[in-house]
């Protein structure tokens, strides 16, 4: 993933607020990159633009050598479905579906039958230790289990890039650690790039690289060990 000179202005009534001031950022495969910064600094906006969910006011984003900022709405959706996996802070699971069916959504959206997609999703759920919960609905799962279902949903279609927005924010320390270990393992595959947006300093030591952001700008990088020390200081 490569963002070049990304600017984002939000219109609010007659006035305009610039939240990103020409951001350049490259995310490499085989690494877990952590994007950190205080609340409101523009992390989630940058994440939305880098995944084609939001359009930048200026600048370009390439993902796997495709300039996604020049794609049309439906093309962006198809690109996301094929190449990106998402993990949200609030899980965003469908309450009427079982864990396996929830994890199967990207495959179903791609045209697979729900039964076949759920069968494949059960394999992914097994990989992350959720096999016995595959037929449970979200209201029968704990927060950590729901987040692991969301991880399975992000992995089921074997995307090249996994983006996570505050994946541990709603979890206790132990559960958050387990979730980060899974993401760490995913990132160890050289074919995968993992980008995690977080302001939870407990997860710094899982990163290969930490990018800091403030006031809509990339302000620098921290090395993980130093960040981890800082977190425990």
């Amino acid at each position: 993933m490569h963002a070049r000179g990304v600017v984002k202005d939000f219109q609010n009534g007659g006035s305009s607020t610039r939240v990103l001031h020409g951001v350049d950022l490259e995310i490499e495969s085989g690494r877990l990159t952590l994007l950190v910064g205080p609340s409101g600094c523009g992390k989630t906006t940058l994440l939305s633009i880098m995944t084609g969910i939001l359009s930048p006011s200026a600048g370009e984003v390439d993902v796997m050598d495709v300039c996604i900022t020049s794609l049309r709405g439906s093309q962006k959706a198809l690109f996301r479905r094929e190449h990106l996996g998402f993990i949200f802070q609030q899980y965003n699971l469908l309450p009427a579906l079982t864990a396996a069916e929830n994890a199967a959504i990207p495959l179903v959206a791609g045209g697979l039958s729900l039964a076949e997609a759920a069968r494949r999703a059960r394999v992914t759920l097994s990989r992350i230790g959720m096999a016995e919960h595959a037929e449970k609905r979200p209201n029968q799962l704990s927060g950590g289990q729901m987040q692991r279902v969301a991880i399975a949903r992000a992995l089921v279609h074997a995307p090249s890039v996994i983006v996570c927005d505050e994946p541990t924010a709603a979890l206790d320390e132990e559960t958050g650690r387990k979730v980060m270990e899974i993401l760490r393992e995913i990132a160890s595959d050289p074919a995968n790039a993992v980008l995690v947006v977080s302001h939870d300093n407990r997860v710094y030591h899982f990163a290969d690289r930490i990018v800091t952001m403030n006031d809509g700008l990339i302000t620098g990088e921290m090395s993980p060990p130093r960040a981890a020390e800082g977190a425990h200081a």
């Binding site: 989630t44 906006t45 994440l47 939305s48 995944t51 969910i53 939001l54 709405g73 439906s74 959706a77 198809l78 690109f79 996301r80 479905r81 094929e82 990106l84 998402f86 949200f88 802070q89 609030q90 965003n92 469908l94 309450p95 009427a96 579906l97 069916e101 959504i105 990207p106 179903v108 959206a109 039958s113 729900l114 949903r153 927005d165 505050e166 924010a169």
Partner: protein
Amino acid sequence: MNLVALKMLLGDRAKYLGLVLGIGFATLLMSQQVSIFIGLMTRTASQIMDVREADVWVMHPRVKYLDELEAMPAIDLSRVRGVAGVAWAVPLYKGNAVIRSSEGLLQQVILMGLDDGSLVGRPPKILMGSLADLKRPNALMIDRAGHQFIWPGEPLRVGRIVEINDRRVEIVAIAKASPPFQTFPVVYTRYSEALRFTPPQRNKLSFVLVKAAEGVAPVDLAKRIQARTGLQALSWQEFAWRSVRHYVERTGIPVNFGITVTLGFIVGAAVAAQTFYIFVLENLRQFGALKAIGVTDFQILRMVILQALVVGVLGYALGIGLCSTFFWLTRDVPALDGFILRWQVIVGTAVAVAVIMLFSSLASIRKVFVLDPAVVFRG
């Protein structure tokens, strides 16, 4: 994604049932009220439609509909018979009379006097007794609803003696006649008897029923009779529609039924649209997640339309089922005789429900289309 859409819909049982019941109620209200209205309007012309042997009805020029009578002189029957293209022409008496049952009950009735020879104008089905007995002196035939009205709860029976304008007459037959708009019992006798039973009047010929000769179009014959005699002549279809139109234009019945049907449509549309809108609104975050994951707007459109289609079809089936059940349960109630659920009402209500669901799904889908999928990144 169809199965996912259905699971989303069925997953929220309370809203799903609310939607189905809302549509069902609207369907029931619209189909039942329209059926009653059509049944009522059909009653205004039922006695015309029962006389299938006659092609043309001839009447006084001032008559506007079936129940507004102004009799013609008896000579007019001969004048009509003299018009070229008339195969046959017979008299028909229609008027009100009062009968007194042997129990002393007084009851106003519609008295029909049929041609003595042919009995043209008789009801389509004889349930009990014989039509030939009507040719006996002081003989009367009554319709089933009238029998049930005068002698409620008693089995149908011929041979009863009643008085009509102080003349003793015998009920010799019971017929199944289409119910008239005025809910009085209908009794039939011969034309000559009807003239005897009713008080003396200068003119008593209510209608002349005419059969067109072979190859003569009834509408053309009606025009010819009108031109030659100065009387009003209409084909039975024209006369039936004129009677229906009179009630539609001159009474508050269509307005009242129209208001009920419109209210049914509006209430149904409001309940269904609002519930469906709230259902989609509450799932907005889920739709946002689906959009972020890569589900296209077109796929989401199909999901919402499928959900609308399912609740629409189920609600409609429930409503039409309840309406059918209502008319089936009341099929033997004399006051509701002739009120049925017609296929045209079934189709029309289906169209109305389709409009309601289209409106509901369009209102909701707009919200999904403009939804920024970045909503899923907000905590």
